[in-house]
């Protein structure tokens, strides 16, 4: 893998190694990568590859919530994440977890109050709080539901509420750890529509996702993890064109698999990863018939 400059990056991780308390093996091992501001990054890998652990280190839950042995450095805007104040870290990084039902506070009776939960904790002034809540609820199409109990929402709406609640804190970086893994196709579409808005806001987004067809349409680069190690960090087409990609147990987008089976490559020598790329490629072939 190429060495990447981490000097001007939004997030820079160098030789990051982490082991959970009482665990035999390291969950992350010698990870080095950098992410620029405004970039969208996908993290893929089989179960146990270290994807969620990497999210927890980036969001500061490691070592604050999960203890254990951490080595190497992880910095945001040049500041060390493990030693950054919690308040500052929350304003920099937001994290959305897998299960939409367990990440709402459970203490608030309405959607509106649920979004306010984090803002109240940070002591945001009331006027600004209302403004931020209204903005995110409208942005994620939840404004009509603002007086409903959060537990009455569907899975997709609940996950959108989770994203909205985190975005109300106006983080510069948003990490989504398999945000659609427990959702039905409709819920998944709802969440990806919400995620697609984030790019327009200039937020740096890191997303762990197994639905590659959706993922590749959104991310600039993908980090492939295996057994806690960073195998490759590159564009989606390069990652999924790797001959040994299936050895890492991650599968590939259906379009890539189809083109591999048909032996169809793009002019740059890589396989298409998205629907549009595949259609363009097939149309190109048709042209030469």
């Amino acid at each position: 893998m190429d060495n990447v400059s981490t000097l001007s990056a939004k997030i820079s991780i160098e030789h990051l190694t982490y082991r959970y308390p009482f665990a035999k093996n390291r969950s992350l091992e010698d990870i080095t990568l950098s992410i620029d501001a405004g970039q969208s990054i996908g993290i893929i890998g089989r179960n146990g590859a270290g994807k969620s652990t990497l999210c927890y280190t980036l969001s500061g839950l490691i070592p604050r919530f999960f203890h254990g042995k951490i080595e190497g450095s992880i910095k945001i805007d040049g500041e060390d994440v493990p030693t950054m104040s919690v308040e500052k870290l929350i304003r920099k990084v937001g994290l959305v977890l897998q299960n939409p039902f367990s990440q709402i506070s459970g203490a608030k009776m309405t959607v509106y109050e649920e979004v306010a939960f984090g803002l109240e904790n940070l002591g945001i002034e009331k006027d600004e709080m209302h403004e931020r809540i209204d903005t995110v609820l409208k942005q994620f199409d939840l404004y009509k539901k603002k007086d409903e109990n959060p537990f009455e929402l569907s899975g997709g709406q609940l996950q959108r509420l989770a994203i909205a609640s985190v975005l109300a804190l106006q983080p510069e970086i948003l990490i989504l750890d398999e945000p659609t893994s427990q959702l039905d196709p409709r819920g998944t579409t709802e969440v990806f529509e919400a995620i697609s808005q984030l790019k327009t806001l200039g937020i740096t987004v890191i997303i762990v996702e197994h639905k590659f067809e959706k993922l590749v349409e959104y991310v600039d680069k993908i980090a492939l993890l295996n057994d806690g190690k960073l195998v490759e960090y590159d564009t989606a087409e390069k990652i999924f064109s790797m001959p040994q990609i299936e050895d890492y147990g991650v599968g590939q987008p259906i379009y890539t698999a189809l083109c591999k089976r048909m032996g169809l490559k793009k002019p740059n020598g890589y396989y298409p990863v998205s629907f549009n790329e595949t259609v363009t490629l097939l149309n190109g072939l048709k042209m030469y018939e």
Binding site: S59, Q103, G106, K126
Partner: protein
């Protein structure tokens, strides 16, 4: 979605009072009825509490609450009427059992205290949203962590019951006998316990992470999206309650000394 709450939605003066005012009334009335071993004092507070319940249009619900303790109240009358240590004056006989005046009067005092406790707290819980009470207490200085526990229990317990029902259905669909004799029900209960406890622990950990990354652990000044207002009426009622409480305590001390 069910929430553990007995709140009855009505548009009354009592509903509009600040939750802490209602809590203060409940505490003052209970303390005073216990402070004075007097049926009259207790009866006065029962009447006031009943008047509040009627004004708040929650009297019917209040009767339901009182029904819950009816058997306990009846047992107090029987036990004290028959076995109170100072029993001396027989009043009447029932199936060969003699009831005494002293015991019956003492049971009446206990009943008045219990009924006042239920009605005064009933006024609070029937006319106040639980979340409003918790928010108000937190805004008045209750630890946000303790407030969170109180507020979340109201929603998370019904959520756990719903999970229990899902797990039971899943176990039943795989052939587990959840009905039948006691032994079958007992074994079904144990089959349910494992997944329920594990699921609850995982959810609790995830929820703890989720609220932590939304600043729950941040120390410092908190703000509130919905402030519970303290009206003029609240202020006057609180002052009146403080005065009544102080007079009652002083009076009681004087009675002890004399």
């Amino acid at each position: 979605m069910k929430v553990l709450s007995l709140y009855v939605e009505r548009d009354t003066f009592i509903h509009k009072l600040e939750p802490v005012t209602k809590l203060l009334y409940a505490l003052v009335s209970i303390v005073i009825t216990f402070l004075f071993p007097s049926i009259t004092v207790g009866a006065v507070f029962v009447v006031i509490s009943l008047f509040l319940a009627i004004s708040a249009k929650v009297f019917k619900r209040m009767i339901l609450l009182l029904n819950v303790v009816l058997i306990i109240l009846l047992s107090i009358v029987i036990i004290q009427g028959l076995f109170y240590s100072k029993n001396a004056t027989p009043v009447f006989k029932l199936w060969g059992l003699t009831f005494y005046k002293e015991g019956l009067l003492y049971s009446l005092l206990l009943i008045v205290r219990v009924v006042d406790m239920i009605i005064s707290f009933g006024v609070l819980i029937l006319t106040t949203r639980p979340s409003d009470l918790v928010d108000d207490l937190v805004q008045k200085g209750l630890s946000p962590r303790f407030g969170y526990v109180l507020a979340s229990v109201l929603q998370i317990i019904p959520q756990m019951l719903s999970t229990t029902s899902t797990i039971t259905d899943a176990q039943r669909s795989r052939g587990l006998e959840t009905e039948g004799n006691l032994l079958q029900r007992f074994s079904a209960f144990f089959a349910l316990l494992g997944p329920l406890v594990l699921n609850s622990l995982v959810e609790a950990r995830e929820r703890a992470m989720a609220i932590e990354i939304r600043g729950f652990g941040v120390e410092g000044k908190r703000t509130f999206v919905r402030e519970i207002p303290e009206t003029k009426a609240d202020r006057w009622i609180k002052v009146a309650l403080y005065v009544v409480f102080t007079v009652a305590v002083v009076w009681r001390i004087v009675l002890w000394i004399m």
